[in-house]
Subunit: 265 residues, 3 copies
Amino acid sequence: MITASTLWEELERIRAVSPLIHNITNYVVMNTTANALLAIGASPVMAHAIEEVEEMTALSKALVLNIGTLSASWVDSMVHAGQEARRRQIPIILDPVGCGATSFRTAVAQRLLHEAPPTIVRGNASEIRALVFAEQSTKGVDSTQTSEASLEAAQLLAHKSQCVVSVSGPTDLIVTESGLLRILNGHPMMPSVTGLGCTASAITGAFAAVGSSPSAAAAHAMAVMGIAGEMAGERCAAPGSFQTHFLDALYLMTEEDILRRLKLA
Amino acid sequence: MITASTLWEELERIRAVSPLIHNITNYVVMNTTANALLAIGASPVMAHAIEEVEEMTALSKALVLNIGTLSASWVDSMVHAGQEARRRQIPIILDPVGCGATSFRTAVAQRLLHEAPPTIVRGNASEIRALVFAEQSTKGVDSTQTSEASLEAAQLLAHKSQCVVSVSGPTDLIVTESGLLRILNGHPMMPSVTGLGCTASAITGAFAAVGSSPSAAAAHAMAVMGIAGEMAGERCAAPGSFQTHFLDALYLMTEEDILRRLKLA
Amino acid sequence: MITASTLWEELERIRAVSPLIHNITNYVVMNTTANALLAIGASPVMAHAIEEVEEMTALSKALVLNIGTLSASWVDSMVHAGQEARRRQIPIILDPVGCGATSFRTAVAQRLLHEAPPTIVRGNASEIRALVFAEQSTKGVDSTQTSEASLEAAQLLAHKSQCVVSVSGPTDLIVTESGLLRILNGHPMMPSVTGLGCTASAITGAFAAVGSSPSAAAAHAMAVMGIAGEMAGERCAAPGSFQTHFLDALYLMTEEDILRRLKLA
């Protein structure tokens, strides 16, 4: 699906083009995902008012929908924005944060899947299983399963919803109707920083925005996240510093870093 | 109430069990309190939609209610979540941010006190005085008084509401109906970082979640905050860096750090 | 309009008086602008509920209105707060974030201009042009123009709305009905950190709060932002670290730093 070369080219394209990414996302991560998008070279915008979401989506090169702190009026805005994106063939990334933790979240994620069909679904294993099997999760927004445990669910989802499914974990899975890629990059400190999954979804939007195919965009994004995580993890011993170094790594990442580190399976 | 040993044991328990803490809190601090909970080893979730707060509370080991950027619909959600927590005997931490600054905040804090009775109230001296005496504050969300000036109010509140009252300041007070503990740890730069009071409330939730008695949980949390503040303060000279070092200290804190630093009176 | 001396005096005054600044601002930047206000010595409060905005404004020394993530109910609160500020002669800073990106944003910014007339409007060139000429912008919340391209619009706005207009960019313009000042301080990494424009508006509030004339307050704020940016940029090579060093610089800035760096034209 991807190579170090395609990753470097697409990263360079993001830095050159600075695509506008429209995020309707959760309160916890708005600041950090905006900073991650800027660090990688993209241009973030956050807007959720029903009066403006369609216009904002129309200006954008990708739409990221994230249900991390949802409420009814935000869901309506997500549907409107998603339908505008579909009309204009703008890629949609859905992050079903906490799907399975409550029946409301599961229902909203399933509604978005149908009313604003995503190009790419990016979640952790518990979320993907909950989205497909309506399984209940017991750990809030954190995964209780390895990404491998969600493989069947991801394949079903990719087939039924005609989308790419990107499952994050120590091993990331990129699942299409007919293909599967495993990305082995990453660092054990990543789950100790809030919102890195949400950041992965935003970064996925940035790669989708510059024209990578959906499967390549999903893979490029998870690879960049994992490589930046490794670069950060080598520079510090705790999550406060990690967050700073992670943003720095997104900004400073060179072709050499990618060539030396990218690990696929 | 507590010793270096009990503090270390309970901190180890949080790291081992990773309790889910449900926060209905303010926009300003969502990211930083989530990161503080992760750094200490707990698992944060933020959810405020009336459709899901009861289910999310039911999954959790503690509920933190914080009125820092309140609005009417959020208050309803706080009441629902609080009542579910009471039914399930899940500890509730109430942080009456800015109580006394406006009559709306004072009324909301008093409503929560009655309709979702907290296990622990954690606030600054001005907030505790306003909650008990309906006194008006003149400085927004910052305290204009020392914690000692709130001692009588805290004791009245502990008695009338049958809760533990945790008052933060250069000296922290842990007030129960019959007891009083002073914690002397901390660093003068702490008030220059936004939301460390809110973080204290979230961390109080983490200690309450692993089974410390309410008074011990309140004391363990304020001691950990103060010790992490000292560790951060020794490593930097300004609040931007302080925030990073503070998170790192929560993650890296050892038994030795606690033994060497804990100061009670 | 300003000198290194007046800037240092007013910065010292903020640190001494710690004025309360009421912010009704966007979710993305609440945490970072609160921290910037604390770092400079001011006292931030964020409150948006219609039930309390007037009381909160009445306690404050400046009101900052920022439409970065607006919705209808927030706009009503901004109008109420703004009208209370006018009644009490409390300076109002309006930041028309993303004005021009959607017709809703443009309409809201123009409504605030009329119903809650600002003392100072602080925006980027695209926003100021959109506010005056109802011009559509094509890049979300980032400017597509240099500040010079907005000079005519800024002068018209200053005249028609009897306010000071502060346009940020590599060169900042401070525009009054009869005067113009250019501030040359700053660092190329500043646009790579989210919300530094919003931070500039909050800091403008802090200078307005301690009694600088509106034009001096606008100029002092942009000069402090630019100088802090230079100090941060000399200490790091990427935006994650830059954000930390920027906050540190606001806190640590000395008279010497100002004397050595301030560049006006």
